[in-house]
Symmetry: C2
Subunit: 382 residues, 2 copies
């Protein structure tokens, strides 16, 4: 297997891009990444996207976007793993380079969620859950996460208010990220006042519906050593049942555990070797469950870890360093690529006011559904 490096990154601001369609968003991120890599073309394109069929009436994004960016003819296809689609596309791109099939590969995540009315988006997101055994009962995706959060509060005696620490951390970091959707700090008082979405998940527990695209350029280390911005030390995918009721233990995200273990093994690293963690904080409860299942906190102790500042820039394990899904935003199929782009920013000293000093190893973990597909990347500084 050839070692793979990231030689370029690009992203659009996350937000409501009324003036741009899917192909324009992807174009902007890809062009920025190619420019960053000082290249004008690539051999293949893997597009991470979940909802284009449901929300835009458009599948077949691989060829569509390859053509629109001026690279008609190259290999291209769409990769889908619900909200884990972005990192899954990077994983496929990594295999394409590692195998020797291609030298310069684009992995682009793109999602445009704001062109549809809310109920369609809600129905679309529910396609990450089990249609026949969960969604057909009438539950939405946020509803499923609300059940998990309620159970967590019950099992571990954690108050609803304690979860504010995740939101406050994410928004504090988002303030300094020019590509974040919400660049505003959040107080405990604001969290307490936030409108309820699906009890106990309130508006400030929830990542936003938004548009965005991010892209990385992948290449073999031996041919592109001088341009390398970060090394891919690990790329690991694991799965669990979609249906939460069918899990061994709803409080244990087994696929997070598996994916993290596989990634650490690939990278020959222990937990202590990870300097920052871009966590999939689509809801506060997912941040807590992820930290625990990944092995960075004991069961029931992740909220305390957040409250004591261990997750802040400068803490033991900074998470959501550029705002996370909560503040940067969660354009679902693009999110996993944003996370990886942000880890590269950290490892190359481009994270500005949010720079994690001395960071040489960063982990990004992208989750599809409520833990059913988990894609973990570990990147190392060059």
């Amino acid at each position: 297997m050839r070692d793979v490096v990231i030689i370029g990154i690009g992203q659009t601001p996350v937000g409501e891009h009324w003036d741009k369609s899917l192909r324009h968003l992807a174009h902007d991120a890809i062009m920025a990444a190619l420019q960053d890599a000082d290249l004008g073309a690539a051999d293949a394109l893997y597009v991470g996207n979940m909802l284009s069929g449901e929300l835009a009436g458009q599948e077949h994004l691989g060829a569509l976007i390859a053509d629109f960016i001026g690279l008609r003819g190259i290999e291209a296809m769409k990769i889908e793993a619900a909200c884990g689609s972005g990192a899954a596309a990077v994983h496929v791109g990594m295999m394409a380079v590692a195998s020797g099939m291609h030298d310069v590969v684009l992995a682009c995540g793109v999602e445009k969620m704001t062109d549809a009315i809310g109920s369609v988006t809600t129905s679309g997101l529910a396609m990450a859950a089990d249609q026949e055994y969960e969604v057909s009962q009438g539950i939405s995706f946020v509803g499923l996460n609300a059940l998990l959060m309620r159970r967590y509060m019950h099992d571990f005696g954690v108050s609803k208010e304690a979860f504010a620490a995740f939101t406050i951390n994410a928004h504090r970091n988002g303030v300094n990220n020019p590509n974040a959707m919400f660049r505003s700090a959040v107080s405990e008082a604001a969290y307490a006042r936030a409108g309820m979405i699906a009890d106990p998940i309130n508006l400030l527990d929830s990542s936003p519906v938004c548009d965005g695209s991010a892209c990385v350029v992948l290449a073999p280390a031996d041919l592109f050593r001088s341009r390398a911005k970060a090394r891919i030390l690990a790329s690991a995918v694991a799965t669990d049942s979609l249906a939460v009721h069918d899990r061994r233990d709803p409080m244990a995200l087994d696929a997070v555990t598996l994916s993290t273990q596989r990634a650490l093994a690939q990278a020959h690293l222990a937990h202590a070797g990870v300097d920052l963690f871009e966590v999939h904080d689509a809801f506060s409860i997912m941040a807590a469950l992820s930290l625990e299942a990944a092995g960075f906190a004991k069961p029931g102790q992740a909220v305390q870890m957040a409250q004591t500042g261990e997750i802040a820039i400068g803490g033991r394990l900074p998470i959501s360093t550029m705002g996370g899904l909560k503040s940067r935003g969660h354009p679902v199929g693009a999110t996993g690529v944003y996370q990886i782009v942000e880890v590269v920013e950290q490892l190359t000293g481009q994270a500005g006011a949010n720079q994690v000093q001395g960071a040489t190893v960063g982990m990004a973990q992208n989750i599809g559904g409520s833990g059913a597909t988990v894609v973990t990347h570990i990147l190392g500084a060059v």
Copy 2:
């Protein structure tokens, strides 16, 4: 790059499977393939599918199916390239093995199209075309192909009736395939009587709306030499614009040409080295355009090639040897895997009455949209 072999194949009959949902169809094909490989598990699963979101309200098929077949935890994701999704999934699986990321990989195509009312299926299939520049004008996917056929008839002076040769060949072969949807021969008279769908495309020019799933088990040649059923000599993807009006020449499927050239180069073969060709005959016109763009016939001469029997079993280049998309059926995201399964049947002498005698090299070509994504595999006998 590690050499990759196919060590197991499986398929469900193509048809209207009212009693089975997506996950059951995929289960049946995967279990058959694993049994054929004499294995009980695999390291990863790539699912080719186009329409599950639109027609079943279900995305996230990778984890869903991995769990349902009893392999919860393994890497899994969905690959989408419109009607080319199946072969695209095989391509990703090939890269996963070639790279060394995984040893035993399942590539499964699955589609369930008959659970939706016709207009929803028609809208879904149109997502293979350009929503903003084609579909928004009101054209359907069969409508686009009808424009291509009309133009072909005009440019090359070919009669509508002459296209019957493709249908007659496909159905003649389908009669002997127990997994084909239509096991009935078609006469020229029946073709002439067939109801018009989108002039000049009639019912017997069109592949059917149907359900089905097919699967191959991929593995590295060096570790599984004794179980190998066929070698993957080439796996090549190429793209073109989705929008037909934006092509260099609507009669030239440039992505077919590119993909074929890339595949032949990978396999170190010339056209004459290909013993049979599973062509993407979603409509008769696509069979004709594919044969020409792939270099097996000169422009405007593919229909004559069909009429003179060169495409029949025993002819110069047998195509659609197990019925093709027309007679075996075209469960869109599964089709590319069916084609590859059928090539393996031919190379292992399992094609029964349709056996192409002495076949040692077979090509399978799966197309997304009206030529926008083309995935070509060349397999060699062991």
